[in-house]
Homo-oligomer: 340 residues x 2
C-alpha cells in the first residue's frame, strides 16, 4: 500500500493543466514545465497516504472509480503542498528545495508567486472533481476548508512567533507547539485522514479515532523534523545540515534546549548569539552540540515516543480492519523514524 | 439591479472565516481584519454583477435560496479578485491600492503572500458551497477552473511581455491584446457571465451569446482602463495620475502610440526614454501629451466603440429577457465610460 500511487494522477493532471496554459500562450510552457517537475520530483506523499488510510478505514473501496476518486483527492492535497512550498521558499528566503534551486531562484519571485497560486487553484479543481465523483457533502467541504485555512493560519502564526521579541523559553515552546499543531499535525496527518474517511462517509467514531491518532502522530512527525533540522544528514533531508539553526527556526527542540540551559547562562548566550545566522559549519556544529548537551534531544525523543504510543492508542476500540491498522502503524513508524 | 448585493455575503463569509482563524490563534485577528477591510472597502463588484446577469439570462430565479447561491458564487469571484490584487501589488511593487497603503506595505510581503493565499482558498470554499446548493456539474467546474487558470496565466504572460526586450510596436500591441484577452476580458466579463449562465443550466446558445458579448466588452473595458491609466483623475481611479506611464505598463494604448510615432523618431525616443520611471508629474504630463498628440487616443476610443457595438450585437438572436438586455447594455456603458 506504500507504492507512490498518486504519481500517475499528478502527471496526468499536470499534463491537462499544461494544455490549459498553452491555450493562453505557449511561451508560458517552460515555466509551467518547471513547476510540474517541482511537483513530480520528490516529496514523500505522506498526505495522500494518510488520506488513503482514512478512506479505507472509513470503508472505502480498494479499487474501481470511487477508489480512484479518493486517490485523486489525495493528489489534490499534494498540489496544495507544492503551492505551499513554493510560497514558503519565497518567505523563508530558501534558495534550495529537495537539493535543487528553489522555484523563485530559477524563475524569479514574481513568477513564483503566480505559479504557486496556479498550483493551489489546480488543487481545488482536482479536489472538486474527485468530490463530485464521490457525491461528497458538507462534511467533506468543511474538512477541506479547515485544512487549507489551518495550514495558512499556522504559517502566519509561525511568522508572527518567529519575529516576536519573546525570549521566555516556556512561552516559546508553547507557541512552537501551537504552530506545529496547525501547520503540521492537522495539515499533514489529522485532516488528510479525516478527509479520506469523510469521503467514504465513515462512522463518526472512526473519524474521531483517526483524528486522535493524527493529532498525536502529526506532532511527533514535526518533532522528528525538528531533530533532523539540527542533526540530520543533508543528503537525506535535501536541506543544508543544521538548516533550522542557520534559519533560526523557533522549534520545540530549541525552546526545550533554552529552558534546560537556564542554569548555564554562558551556553545559552552562545546559542542565542549564533542561532539565526550562517557563521559556517563549525559554528553550526558547535550549536548542535550545545543543544545535544542540554539534554533536549532525549526530552524530544521521549516526547516523540509518548506521542506515537498515545496516537496508536487512540485507534483502540474503533474496530478498524487489520490491514488499515497495520498501515497506520507502519506510517507512524516511518513518519517519525530517524532515517525518514 | 446594480445595488451592491454581494457586500452582505462577503461580510458574513469573512466573519465566519475570521472565526476559523481565531480558532488557530487570536493573535492573527488584526491581520485577518486588515484583509477583510481590504475586501470590503471598495471595488466595483463588476464580476459578481456580470455573473448575476448570466444567471438571469440563463433563466435563474430572481429570489429564494437558489438566487442567493448564485449571488454567493458571484461573491466568490470577488474573493479571487481580492487575492489577485494582494499578490499583484507585491509583484508590481505598488505601494497604494484604492488610495490606501497596499496590504504588503502595512503587513509585510511575507504575511501578504499568505493572506492572499488565504482569501484565494476562501474563494474556492465559497464557490464550492454555492455550487453544491445549485447541484452544479462538470460545465460549471470547467468554467471555474478556466477563469482562475486564465487570469493567472494572463498575469504570467503580462510579466513575460513586460520584461521582454521586444521593441516592435506591432508585436507589442499583439502581446498586449493577448494579455487583455485572458487577464481582463475572460476573467472580468466573459467567464463570470458563463459561470452564472452555467449555474442556471442555460441553453448553450445563450451561453455562446453571453460569451461573445463578454469577450468584446471585456477588451473594451481594458482599453478604457488603459486610457484612465494615462489620462485619468487620481481621485477617481485611486491610483496616481499617469500611473501606467510611471509603471511602464505595456498597454495597447502605448503600443498604438509607438506605432504612430515611427514617423516622429524624436518624440518616440522621448517616450521610450521616460516611460517606466517616475521623473515627476511634469515629465509624466509631457509623456501623456506625446501619446495624445500621436492620435492613439482617438484610435483607442474608436476601438472601444467598435467593441461595444460588436459585443451588444453578439446578444442579438439569443432571445434574452428585456430586463437582462437592459442591464447588459447598462453594464457595457458603465464599464467603458470615461467616468468609471
Amino acid at each position: 500500500m506504500t507504492e507512490p500511487f498518486v504519481e500517475s494522477i499528478l502527471r496526468d493532471e499536470l499534463a491537462d493543466r499544461r494544455g490549459d496554459v498553452a491555450a493562453v500562450d505557449e511561451r508560458l510552457l517552460p515555466q509551467v514545465d518547471r513547476l510540474a517537475r517541482f511537483v513530480l520530483d520528490g516529496g514523500k506523499r505522506l498526505r495522500p497516504r494518510f488520506l488513503w488510510c482514512g478512506w479505507l478505514a472509513g470503508g472505502g473501496e480498494l479499487d474501481g472509480p470511487r477508489a480512484q476518486a479518493a486517490r485523486r483527492a489525495g493528489a489534490a492535497i499534494e498540489l496544495i503542498q507544492a503551492g505551499a512550498l513554493v510560497h514558503d521558499d519565497i518567505i523563508d528566503n530558501s534558495s534550495t528545495r529537495r537539493g535543487k534551486p528553489s522555484l523563485h531562484v530559477d524563475l524569479g519571485v514574481d513568477a513564483a508567486i503566480l505559479l504557486g497560486d496556479l498550483v493551489l487553484s489546480w488543487a481545488d479543481d482536482l479536489f472538486a472533481d474527485a468530490s463530485a465523483v464521490l457525491g461528497a457533502g458538507a462534511a467533506v467541504r468543511d474538512a477541506w476548508r479547515k485544512v487549507r485555512t489551518e495550514v495558512l493560519a499556522g504559517q502566519l502564526l509561525d511568522l508572527a512567533v518567529s519575529r516576536s521579541s519573546q525570549q521566555d523559553p516556556v512561552v516559546q515552546a508553547r507557541d512552537a507547539r501551537r504552530v506545529n499543531r496547525f501547520k503540521t499535525a492537522a495539515y499533514t496527518v489529522e485532516r488528510p485522514l479525516q478527509l479520506g474517511a469523510a469521503l467514504a462517509d465513515a462512522d463518526p467514531r472512526v473519524i474521531g479515532a483517526l483524528r486522535g491518532y493524527g493529532a498525536h502522530l502529526g506532532l511527533a512527525f514535526q518533532l522528528r523534523d525538528d531533530l533532523l533540522g539540527v542533526f540530520g544528514d543533508a543528503v537525506v533531508t535535501g536541506k543544508p545540515a543544521g538548516g533550522d539553526l542557520i534559519e533560526g527556526k523557533r522549534t520545540v527542540l530549541l525552546a526545550t534546549a533554552r529552558t534546560r540551559l537556564r542554569a548555564h547562562p554562558e551556553q545559552l548566550a552562545r546559542l542565542d548569539a549564533d542561532v539565526g545566522r550562517d557563521s559556517g559549519p563549525a559554528v553550526t556544529a558547535a550549536l548542535a552540540q550545545i543543544i545535544a548537551g542540554s539534554g533536549a534531544v532525549e526530552a524530544v525523543e521521549d516526547e516523540i515516543e509518548a506521542l506515537v504510543t498515545s496516537g496508536l492508542a487512540a485507534l483502540d476500540g474503533a474496530s478498524l480492519p487489520e490491514p488499515v491498522l497495520a498501515e497506520l502503524r507502519e506510517l507512524a513508524s516511518a513518519a517519525t523514524s530517524r532515517a525518514f
